[in-house]
Amino acid sequence: MQPTSSMKEEFLKKWQMGLQIFRPSIDNTSVSERKKAIKLSADVAMASLRKGTTCWSRALIEKTATEDNFLVRQMLTGIKAEALINKKLPKKIVCHRKIVRRSKKILRRKSRSASEEAAVKAKRLVKRRTQGLRNVVPGGEFMSNDILLLRETLDYIVSLQTQVNVMRSIVDAAEAGIEQ
């Protein structure tokens, strides 16, 4: 599933709306501030595209809200997605390290054949990678099972692609405009 043009347009509109809201507060400030505002509004726009159906979108909005709650709220009201900010996230998946370590020790005592060991190693690798994926995808810690995680990753990747495409287009157009 590739990002569609309708998705891009929607994202652009929402982003523009968000930027309008941000502009009065960020005039003639440093580059980093501006960049943060742009990224924030882009992220919120991207997350609102999903209208709260996906876990990552809710988690992303939560994250942005913690940074700049007021503006985010404003933006969400602007794009008529206030409900998003109040959505509850599921419980965080917490691993108690002591318990995990103890269980691993017990498991390790059991002797394994060569083929088993390879499988065990592969499993360990996969687990590590899924944990890495959880760290990357917003809200990954809240996804209880791998299947959900993969689904969210899919959705997130598509939205990221949309975002990148639109932003790049804007940059190109802006560049073209400046050069002329």
């Binding site: 994926l133 990747i157 932003m167 157009a173």
Partner: protein
């Protein structure tokens, strides 16, 4: 007498309070294949209760005639104390439709109005090889229950010898898998979610029946192998799966190899534990998702194995996130007033140009635009990260993004451009002038 003896056996095996009995215990006609189509449906309460110890399947199948149904009905009614399990009428009809043992007479049976317990008996008996027989009404697939399933009766009867424990959750899950496979990603998932909620209220085996029927329907072949059916359904999604290709011959289920994580149904000799079945279904789902991801992440077609795929996915997501950062930074510098004139930009067909020429845009030009005057260290580090990521991950050109041949000269180009831009100053007093000043310099530097 034979009949009463059988009836007693059945009564003994009824175990109605184990609705969600681990399907591992459930075996229908595990040992002897029934060659001759049997018109009646010897109702074995195997659907609900463990049966292998008490009933010999061949006995049951051979001895039960149509006349027995009345007795069985009574016994079933007496013991049927699971109100929440009583399937609705529509379901009963559906359950009645599939049967293991009524080769040609099935269509006749279907049309008969069946009393509930009888139908349940039907269903129970047919539980062994529900694959390919499951009516699809519940699935909203819209496929009529055609006679293709009827043609499968005899082979299915033969394959009924396999123990077929059913996992309550697995049926739902596989349903989900298949529907998502069939309908495309999003739509399939939402619809299958609806199925899941509906199904979970029913017996897990019923859901598996439906799922197997769906798979068979989608094939529309007289495929004997229930597993093959599932495989064939999966085959559009997993053409490269070796188990699929292995199964797509007219092999009987009992002869097919045990491996292959596509299969939900436990085969003969396999662990019929509910856990292993559920795990298999889970693996199915995960593999399907990974397939979608393979299509999405560029350059992942040759990669096999979960760990490597996950690695690629992580890298890709990270690179996308970094791209967003860069682009937003770039935008911040290019347009300090942040007055992105949408109408003006769109008038220039900026978006359309982007979409159209995404892959053809030569990369160096893009590169020059990605380097806004940033704090030196940050830019260098992130850009070198990107370079490393790109060179390590075989990313095919994506939307004018990372091109393989560019990565070699990246690092050096990056350094040069950064220096140039850095010299221009990151907070120019005159934004417009600084922007124009830095850009030509970057262009001069980077243009091939």
């Amino acid at each position: 007498m034979d009949l009463s003896e059988e009836k007693r056996n059945l009564d003994a095996t009824v175990n109605y309070d184990s609705v969600n009995n681990p399907p591992g215990d459930w075996r229908v006609s595990g040992s002897n294949p029934v060659s001759a189509p049997i018109d009646s449906y010897p109702p074995s309460e195997n659907l609900i209760s463990p049966c292998p110890s008490s009933c010999s399947p061949s006995q049951m199948m051979d001895s039960f005639g149509q006349s027995l149904w009345g007795n069985i009905d009574r016994s079933l009614e007496m013991g049927w104390n699971l109100p929440n399990l009583l399937p609705p009428k529509g379901f009963i009809e559906r359950a009645a439709r599939f049967s293991l043992f009524s080769g040609g007479n099935f269509s006749d049976m279907v049309n008969q109005p069946l009393v509930n317990p009888e139908s349940i008996g039907l269903f129970l008996q047919g539980g062994g090889t529900m694959q390919g027989q499951c009516p699809s009404n519940e699935l909203n697939v819209g496929e009529p229950h055609n006679d293709a399933s009827i043609g499968l009766k005899d082979p299915n009867v033969r394959s009924s010898e396999q123990a077929k424990p059913n996992v309550p959750g697995s049926g739902n899950v596989s349903e989900d898998t298949q529907s998502s496979g069939g309908n495309g990603q999003k739509g399939g998932e939402t619809s299958s979610k609806g199925f899941d909620t509906k199904k979970r209220k029913r017996n897990g085996q019923i859901s598996e029946v439906h799922q197997s029927h769906r798979s068979q329907q989608s094939e529309e072949e007289g495929d004997n192998n229930g597993d093959k059916k599932r495989n064939d359904e999966q085959s559009p999604n997993s053409p490269g799966n070796k188990t699929n290709s292995g199964k797509q011959q007219g092999k009987q289920t009992s002869d097919s190899p045990k491996d292959g994580y596509i299969h939900v149904r436990a085969r003969r000799g396999q662990a019929t534990n509910s856990h292993s079945l559920a795990e298999r279904v889970r693996r199915e789902k995960i593999s399907e998702r990974m397939k979608f991801l393979q299509d999405l992440v560029p350059g992942c077609n040759k990669v096999t194995g979960k760990a490597v795929m996950l690695d690629e996915i992580i890298n890709y997501v990270q690179s996308l996130q970094r791209q967003v950062e860069f682009l937003s930074m770039k935008l911040a510098t290019v347009n300090p007033q942040m007055d992105f004139n949408l109408e003006g930009l769109l008038a220039k067909d900026g978006l359309q140009l982007r979409a159209g020429s995404s892959s053809s845009t030569p990369f160096p030009q893009n590169m020059s635009m990605v380097y806004p005057p940033l704090p030196h260290g940050f830019m260098q580090q992130t850009l070198s990260n990107i370079g490393r990521t790109i060179s390590s991950a075989p990313l095919s050109p994506m939307n004018g993004g990372f091109k393989r041949q560019e990565t070699n000269g990246w690092e050096s180009d990056l350094q040069n451009v950064i220096h140039v831009n850095y010299g221009a100053g990151d907070i120019p007093p005159d934004p417009q002038a600084a922007g124009t000043a830095s850009l030509p310099a970057a262009n001069m530097k980077v243009e091939p």
